[in-house]
């Protein structure tokens, strides 16, 4: 894992160039850029309003206060924004790369195929979601009188990285399923909304679902457990310590599925 990390560092200058190039071509279509930005904001506002509406009739849900739920949602937005901005290309991977055969081009270049797919299309404007998220956390944190510690400044990025790794792993594996099927849409549009399960306290779900979102599709580690740590909700907060390990594991799983899939790639019949 550490070795992979070092290897990635070698690509940093290249990644920076791709990011710049992406921004440039993104800005070549300003309408798309602004629509993307606006639709993200509307989406986030709707989710926040939804939380406020739910709490109009009850002071707390399963022992969670309104501000706490807003805080959890705000935290969740940070890893989600990073994931959404950088992994946007996984969305129509099945159609664009596998069915239409664009993966040919990827395989003729001397870079890891997964890295190329990530770099070829990014929606960096989605990073604004992280700003919304931090603002929501700040507002809720003040209302709750949270005590931030200095160490939290270091812990926060680590937990976010773990959450992003979990998303990467899950959605890389789902995208790679395209190598086995000949489906045009793939599984990702179908399962995209799974991400919603990472942003509410898990005890609002049944025991079974709670188990699934903790140990099977560990989405609770993306938003809820880390947020619970910052909220100092003892029992749940402790799970957050596992977030980096769970992230590494899920990402490794996704990459393994991907590598197996690439060997089965058959190109587009011509």
């Amino acid at each position: 894992m550490a070795l992979r990390g070092l290897e990635m560092a070698r690509y940093l200058p290249l990644i920076a160039r791709f990011v710049a190039q992406n921004l440039k071509s993104r800005l070549a279509y300003p309408a798309d850029f602004w629509t993307g930005l606006a639709s993200d904001l509307v989406h986030q506002a709707a989710n926040l309003v939804f939380i406020l509406v739910v709490f109009q009739h009850a002071p707390s849900l399963h022992g969670w206060r309104r501000e706490e739920v807003v805080f959890i949602y705000g935290y969740f937005l940070v890893p989600f924004a990073v994931f959404h901005a950088t992994a946007a290309n996984l969305w129509d991977f099945a159609d664009r790369y596998v069915v239409r055969g664009e993966f040919d081009r990827v395989l003729t270049r001397p870079l890891p195929s997964l890295l190329q797919v990530f770099l070829e299309t990014m929606e960096l404007e989605s990073l604004l979601g992280a700003v919304t998220g931090v603002a929501a956390m700040a507002w809720a944190g003040r209302a709750l009188g949270l005590d931030w510690r200095l160490a939290d400044l270091a812990i926060f990025p680590v937990l976010v990285a773990g959450g992003v790794a979990i998303y990467y792993g899950i959605f890389i594996a789902l995208a790679a399923v395209a190598f086995w099927t000949d489906s045009r849409t793939g599984l990702i549009p179908l399962l995209w909304n799974l991400n919603a399960y990472g942003r509410y306290p898990v005890d609002i779900y049944s025991r079974r679902l709670r188990f699934v979102f903790t140990w099977v599709l560990p989405l609770a580690f993306v938003g809820f457990f880390p947020a619970a740590y910052f909220l100092r909700r003892g029992a749940w907060g402790w799970y957050a310590a596992l977030t980096p390990a769970v992230g590494a594991l899920v990402l490794a799983f996704g990459v393994a599925v991907w590598s197996a899939g690439v060997r089965r790639y058959r190109g587009a019949g011509s």
Partner: protein, 306 residues
């Protein structure tokens, strides 16, 4: 040492067989039927450094599939393959640094950014030093007359303009081996001629080995001392172009006859004419490139590769 060495190279595709009609489509949802297609069937192919080889055959013969295996895009179903000293799909990242690839049907460049910026990205990806990059770009832009095109986004280029840029892009890292899958498809005569001149020039100047597929036999006549003819995944002929050309007969006719399994006479007086002759005239190109030995080729028959 050979630059391409394929032994019994095979690729099979499992193809979904759809049933006819709406009811059939509905049944397909639950039980799917598959059939296996052998796109490339146990071919042997050896190419020496510096050769220019024309790889031809009717639609669906398996040319693109072969090229995709040779370039590491597809994993062979069976057989041995060594290209530039690598097993392409196994050491993909190291291997692709040594080759250039152009697919006429598909762009290798980034759609939205200017050609020059695409080239710069490729420079970074391949890690080409600045001085070397400038020297190559100057040379390529000169011969391919890219001048004004460099600052245009790829999506705004015409097909012929794009194809010239694709060729330059495939050569920026100075590969010793170039694969071209229908590089002249859809191009006008002037661009075709320019591309042929260009390929001849890089082969002569840098000794670049070239494997090229095309349906335009004029490309072959202009460029390829050696042709390999493929049909239904099997090699029908591998040898000198001159050896299959009979007096007074155009290449078109000869190739059509071979595609249709009709008489093939060796130009150098090899095997007797006849249907699906077991022995075809002509030999493989000799070591060192364009020099060709017309006599004593390997045999390819209906029963199996020799």
């Amino acid at each position: 040492m050979a630059i391409i060495e394929a032994r019994q190279l095979t690729k099979e595709f499992r193809k979904f067989k759809s049933r006819p009609g709406l009811a059939g489509a509905f049944r397909d949802l639950f039980t799917r039927r598959y059939e296996t297609v052998r796109a490339v069937d146990a071919i042997d192919l050896t190419v020496e450094p510096g050769e220019v080889v024309g790889y031809i055959g009717p639609n669906g013969a398996g040319k693109s599939t072969t090229i995709k295996m040779l370039t590491g895009i597809l994993v062979p179903t069976a057989g041995h393959l060594l290209v530039n000293g690598c097993v392409p799909h196994r050491e993909r990242e190291r291997f692709v640094r040594t080759i250039g690839v152009v697919f006429g049907q598909r762009s290798q460049l980034w759609w939205d950014i200017a050609v020059r910026e695409s080239f710069r990205l490729l420079q970074r990806i391949y890690g080409v030093p600045d001085a070397e990059y400038r020297r190559r770009l100057d040379e390529l832009a000169g011969v391919l007359e890219l001048g004004d095109l460099l600052d245009v986004p790829v999506r705004k280029l015409s097909l012929g303009q794009r194809m010239r840029c694709e060729l330059a892009a495939a050569l920026l890292h100075g590969p010793s081996l170039l694969f071209l899958d229908e590089p002249t498809i859809g191009l006008d005569v002037v661009v075709k001629l320019r591309i042929r001149d260009f390929l001849r020039e890089i082969n002569a100047r840098h000794g670049t080995t070239i494997l090229l597929t095309t349906h335009d036999l004029a490309d072959i006549e202009a460029l390829c001392p050696r042709v390999v003819i493929l049909d239904r995944g099997r090699i029908l002929y591998d040898g000198a172009l001159d050896a299959i050309r009979r007096d007074g007969q155009g290449l078109e006719e000869v190739v059509r006859a071979i595609y249709q399994g009709e008489a093939v006479g060796g130009g150098a007086g090899a095997g007797p004419g006849g249907r699906r002759v077991p022995e075809l005239g002509g030999g493989r190109a000799a070591e060192g490139g364009s020099a060709v030995e017309p006599e004593g080729g390997r045999q390819y028959g209906a029963g199996g590769a020799g």
